[in-house]
């Protein structure tokens, strides 16, 4: 600076005479809005308890999820020693649900995380670069869009063979195109805002601009979308297991349990519905949570 000078009251903006107001940061304000949102708080609490049960499954379920008994097949809810009943080979439903939460959550969340990293990278690149790079990435994604997602997942699984890791891989591939599309859209929007132009005009590098100006403005939207994909991913991976393409028996997994219990639907309908209810509640909670986050992070909505 030619001349450094202290704050000059003669040039001051008029609002300076007002007392300083406390100004929370952006994320602090988001947190405050979330705390006022009872629904989001409730579903987050439910999800947290499901995750805790999954992690500490041996603590919550004393029974062995794999140990069956011919004598105790298809007991109803409330049976002595098996409070949620037993399945068609006499295994404790509560224990299988607790342990099944592990595989179901892993199969639900891992594909989303993988596609978030790969799809987010491709989408931000396409959105920021524009032009030929954008066309190449987006048209490639359009090819994947030509197939219905469940068919694509089944096809990839069928190609790779069954097993949890192959199911995760298949779902990751299925989720990359929508993730690319969302991140490309929000990045294209952010890229044409004046503050990105101003950053370009200040002569800083593309990587610096993306890191400091683009990512901070697109990450929220991308993460919200990813959260909403988790519910879809749980349902799809349960579907793959149901078809025998994901987790293999006798491993406990909600989709697989639904499959094996479906023969018992006339004998013990309530017991047979339990894995489905778990899938429903978990995916519903992820959906509502992502809605809540979207609302809380929208600056314009809450201004």
């Amino acid at each position: 600076m030619a001349k450094l000078s202290a704050f000059d009251p003669a040039l001051a903006a008029p609002a300076d005479v007002l007392p300083a107001q406390p100004s929370p940061g952006y994320w602090k304000a988001v947190g405050q809005r979330l705390l006022r949102d009872k629904v989001t708080l409730a579903v987050t609490a439910i999800l947290l308890s499901i995750i805790i049960i999954a992690i500490f499954a041996p603590v919550f379920a004393i029974q062995d999820p794999l140990a069956g008994s011919v004598m105790r097949r298809l007991k109803p809810i409330g049976t002595e020693g098996h409070w949620l009943g037993t399945d068609e080979t006499g295994r404790d439903i509560w224990a299988r649900l607790c342990y099944g939460a592990r595989l179901s959550l892993i199969a639900g969340m891992t594909p989303v995380m993988i596609s978030l990293v790969i799809g987010g990278f491709l989408g931000v690149t396409a959105g920021y670069m524009g032009g030929l790079v954008n066309t190449m990435i987006m048209r490639t994604m359009d090819v994947f869009y030509a197939f219905p997602s469940i068919l694509l997942a089944i096809a990839i699984c069928g190609l790779l063979g069954n097993g949890l890791s192959n199911a995760i891989l298949a779902l990751s591939i299925v989720f990359i195109p929508p993730m690319v599309r969302i991140s490309e859209t929000v990045t294209t929007q952010a890229r044409h805002l004046d503050f990105v132009e101003a950053a370009r005009a200040s002569g800083t590098t593309t990587m610096q601009i993306i890191r400091y100006h683009v990512l901070s403005n697109v990450l929220g939207a991308i993460l919200v979308y990813a959260t909403s994909l988790i519910s879809l991913s749980i349902i799809l991976s349960a579907g793959l297991s149901f078809l025998g393409l994901g987790v293999t028996p006798p491993q406990p997994e909600w989709g697989l349990m639904l499959n094996s219990l479906r023969q018992a639907i006339y004998v013990q309908p309530l017991v047979a519905a339990l894995p489905g209810a778990c899938i429903f509640v978990t995916s519903m909670c992820f959906n509502l949570m992502s809605d809540g986050f979207r609302g809380a992070m929208d600056v314009k909505l809450n201004k």
Partner: protein, 356 residues
Amino acid sequence: MFAASQVKQDPRDRGGLAQPLLIVEGLKKYFPVRGGVLNRQVATVQAVDDVSFSVRKGEVLGIVGESGCGKSTTARLLMQLITPDSGGLVFDGDPVGGPRGISISELRRQMQMVFQDSFSSLNPRMPIVDSIAYAPRMHGLSAAAARERAETLLAQVGLNPRQYSRRYPHELSGGQRQRVNIARALALEPRLVILDEAVSALDKSVEAQVLNLLRELKARLNLTYLFISHDLNVVEYISDRVLVMYLGRVVETGPVEAIYSRPRHPYTRALLASKPTLDPDRRTRHLPLTGDPPNPINPPSGCRFRTRCSFAQAICSEVIPSLLAPVDLGADAPTDHLVACHLPEAQAAFGEHDVA
């Protein structure tokens, strides 16, 4: 009046006082219009067509014209935010982008820009102090030093850093945000600042404060301004020289007094006659100009103003007029007043409208 005489010597000065800070030569930008089944180019918008001018050290050059006349495109071309189709820049004697001149990133350190929209030109997720410190930080200043510079700049633009530095853009008023944008533009210690409609979105009282701030900063920091605006009163207030643009071309340029008191180009006269006045005896009685400007996709041949000009003759549609000294140059006329018009009678007719 000649602003360069007031300029203090800048240690970065290379060409001397007589060397213009920025020379723009034949700047041209045509935007393709795509359409049809195969996304073919179906037309061209001639946004900026052969624009040449120079900015002297220490002056304020105002650029005026209707919306869509290429003012903002010119600004973005100068900042190299969009690449010109042809034409070159010479910054303080050094050609920009050439093998022997200065690089574009070097140019951007010496030339900065303030945008019209004070809200969208600040990152909504960044405290304003970080927005200002961003460029110096990325250019190698330590975090603490960049922050200190940002706070000094906040003080210089009239925002108390203790009170404002951690605020976010949506917590400030429009005038305060534009002060932050000015501070951000000054963070790299530029010599030339392009103000693209920088005060146009502000209400009148705030606009006056920011204009005074700009004047004060110019004197204190030895700056040169390129002031783009559609507001004729503001341009008259702040500029030393004025450049009038119409449909992507320069139609008239000269010292602000000469342009405002003796406009030569029929378009400049119409523009000045449309200026609202508060004096009831001088109210505009007849429309100085009717209709919209022609479509820049298919601009008129020759002089682009001829379709709306009451003086137009055959020559106007055939030959593109070049910027020349007015025909009836009086003894007291300034030598740097140039006008792009073929017709002496059109140039001399400055009494015909109720020009304020």
